[in-house]
Symmetry: none
Subunit: 293 residues, 2 copies
DNA sequence: TAAATACAAAGGTATGACCATTTTACCTTT
DNA sequence: AAAGGTAAAATGGTCATACCTTTGTATTTA
C-alpha cells in the first residue's frame, strides 16, 4: 500500500548512469564530442530514443550540451566547479599562483605514485601515445629554435610558427600529465588535476617560452619525462614520485628564473640587442637546475 | 565564429517548461496523475517521443515519477534543483566516495605536514580553540551515549539530543581539520580541503554515529586528535603527517565496518531485538582498529 | 463472497523515416 | 595558389508506428 513498490529500472536511467560514469572516468573529457547518437546507441546496445532520453537527462543537469548538426559535447561543468572559483581568486590575487603550483606538486606526486601502482595495459597505451607525442613536440619546438636560433635579435619577436610549436608543446605536456593522473584511477584526482593544470597554463606557457631559448633545457626536460614514464611503465611507485617531484622542482626553479628574466627584460629590452649572448647566463642557470635531479 | 551560436530551442525543452509551469500553477497538483502520454502528446500537439523526453527531464529533477502500467504522477518535490554537481555525482555513484576519501587523505597529510612547518602563533590560538571545542564535543557525545547506553534495544532509535551531539561533533571535527589546513598557509589547499570535507560530511556523520556506540572508540579518536595537535604544536612535520594518516586510516577502516554493519542491520533488524549484546562484536572490531595506530 | 482470470490501459522500448542545421570537402573563380 | 562558394555528408531534432511489460480493473468462477 503505502510502501514503495520496487520500481523497474528504466533503460534510459542505466544508460545515463553509464554515460555519467564514462564522463567521470575521463573516457569522455571536458569539451569532447560524444559519438553520434546512432553510433553510440549501437555501441551501447540500446535504441536511439532510449539513448536520447538519457542524453536529455544529463543535458538537463548541465553535463551535456547538444547542438543540432554539430554534435553532443561534454560541458565540463564538473571541472568548472573546481576551476571557476579558483580562477576568480587567482585573478584577484596573483600571488596565489605559487600556492597553486605547490598544490600541483602534491597532486602530481600522488598521481605518479598511484599510476605506477595501478596502471592498466589500457593506461599504458595512452601513456605511450601521449609520451611519444610530447617527445615529438619537444624536439620539434627545440628544432625550430635551433633552426632559427642564429639571429638572437629575434628572441623577443616570436613567429607564428614558434607560437604554434609552443602551444602544441603545452597541449602535449598537459595531455601526458593528464594521462598519468588518469592512470592513477581516482576520478576526483583526475578532474582536480585537470583543473589545476588549466589554472597554471599561463605559467607553463611562459616557462616553455623562456626555456626553449636554452638549447640544453629541452633535452633535460625530455630526460625527466622519460624517467617518469619508465618508472610508471616498470611499476616503480617511489621512482615515479621522485621523478615527477624532480621535474616539478626543476620547473619551479626555472619559473623563478623566467619571472626574473621577464622582469629584467622589461627594463633592459634595448640592451639585449647589443648583448646577444645573454643566453649564456640562462644556460648556466639550467646547469644549476640539473643538480636537483 | 567559434562563439556560442544562439541554440535552436528544443521542443522537448518547451514541453518540459510547459508541464513544469502547469504543475507550478496547480493545473496538476501534487499526487495527481498526468493524462496518458498518448493523450497528453496529442493535447500538446507534439509527438510522444518529444513528450517523453520532457517527462524524463522533469523526472530526473524529481518533479515527476512514472510507473509502468500505472501512469505518471506529480511528486510534491518542488525545486530540489541546484545541487553542487559533485554532490549529485556522489549521490549517483557511491563508489566515488572512496576516491574522495583517498584524495582527502593526501590533502590532509600534506596540510598537517605544512602546518607543522609553517604554523604561526595566530594559527596556534585557532588550533587550540578548535581542538578544545572538538575534545569537548567528543566527550559530550560520548557522555550522552554512556548515559543512555544502558538499554541496547534503543541503539537504532537516536534521540534528538543524540542527533545534536553528533552534529556539533561533526562541526567541531570539520573546524579543527579546517584550522589545520589553514595553518598550512596555502590558500588553494585550504579551499580545496573545505570543499572535500563538505563532500564527505555524510560519510563522517555515518561514521560518528556508528562509532559512538562503541565506548572505546571516542577515546581512541581523542588520542589521535591529541597526537596530531601536539605534533603541529611542537612543529614536528613528519609526526603530524603520521598522526593524520593514522587517524584517517582508522576512520577509513571504521567506515568500512560501518557500511558492513549498516548492510547487516538491514537484513537482520528483527534479530537485533533478541540479541541485544550484538555490540560486543563492534567493540571487538574497534579493538582491531587500534592496531592501525 | 472471495479468489482467479482476462482484458484494457499505460508506460517502456525499438525501428524507421524525414527534417533542419552544421560541418566538411570539393570545385570554381580570381 | 589562395579565396570564396556550393553541394554533399554528418548529426541532432522530430515524428509515426509497432510491440512488450506492467498495472489496474472488470469479469468470471469456485
Amino acid at each position: 500500500m503505502s510502501a514503495q513498490k520496487l520500481s523497474v529500472p528504466r533503460l534510459s536511467d542505466a544508460v545515463a548512469e553509464t554515460l555519467e560514469r564514462q564522463i567521470l572516468d575521463g573516457v569522455f573529457k571536458s569539451g569532447d564530442r560524444l559519438p553520434a547518437e546512432r553510433e553510440l546507441a549501437v555501441s551501447l546496445g540500446v535504441s536511439r530514443p532510449s539513448l536520447r532520453e538519457a542524453i536529455q537527462k544529463l543535458a538537463s543537469r548541465g553535463l551535456l550540451r547538444s547542438r543540432q548538426g554539430g554534435g553532443t559535447f561534454v560541458t565540463g561543468q564538473l571541472d568548472a566547479a573546481f576551476f571557476d572559483p579558483w580562477q576568480e581568486m587567482l585573478g584577484a590575487h596573483p600571488e596565489l599562483r605559487t600556492d597553486v603550483a605547490e598544490l600541483r606538486r602534491v597532486l602530481a606526486s600522488e598521481a605518479a605514485e598511484w599510476a605506477a601502482k595501478r596502471r592498466t595495459p589500457e593506461d599504458m597505451t595512452r601513456l605511450v601515445q601521449t609520451f611519444t607525442a610530447l617527445r615529438g613536440a619537444l624536439s620539434a619546438a627545440q628544432g625550430e629554435f635551433v633552426q632559427a636560433g642564429g639571429g638572437f635579435g629575434e628572441t623577443s619577436l616570436p613567429t607564428a610558427q614558434d607560437k604554434d610549436g609552443i602551444e602544441t608543446l603545452i597541449a602535449s605536456d598537459a595531455a601526458f600529465h593528464q594521462a598519468v593522473a588518469e592512470a592513477a584511477h581516482n576520478a576526483m584526482l583526475g578532474h582536480l588535476y585537470a583543473a589545476v593544470l588549466r589554472l597554471l597554463v599561463d605559467d607553463i606557457r611562459l616557462n616553455f617560452s623562456e626555456l626553449r631559448e636554452v638549447s640544453r633545457a629541452f633535452s633535460l626536460l625530455a630526460s625527466q619525462y622519460s624517467t617518469l614514464f619508465e618508472a610508471i611503465r616498470d611499476q616503480r611507485p617511489a621512482a615515479a614520485r621522485a621523478a615527477v617531484e624532480a621535474h616539478l622542482d626543476f620547473v619551479a626553479e626555472s619559473m623563478a628564473q623566467s619571472l626574473r628574466a621577464a622582469a629584467r627584460r622589461e627594463t633592459a629590452a634595448q640592451r639585449l640587442q647589443s648583448h646577444p649572448d645573454f643566453s649564456g647566463g640562462a644556460i648556466a642557470a639550467v646547469a644549476s637546475f640539473s643538480s636537483h635531479a
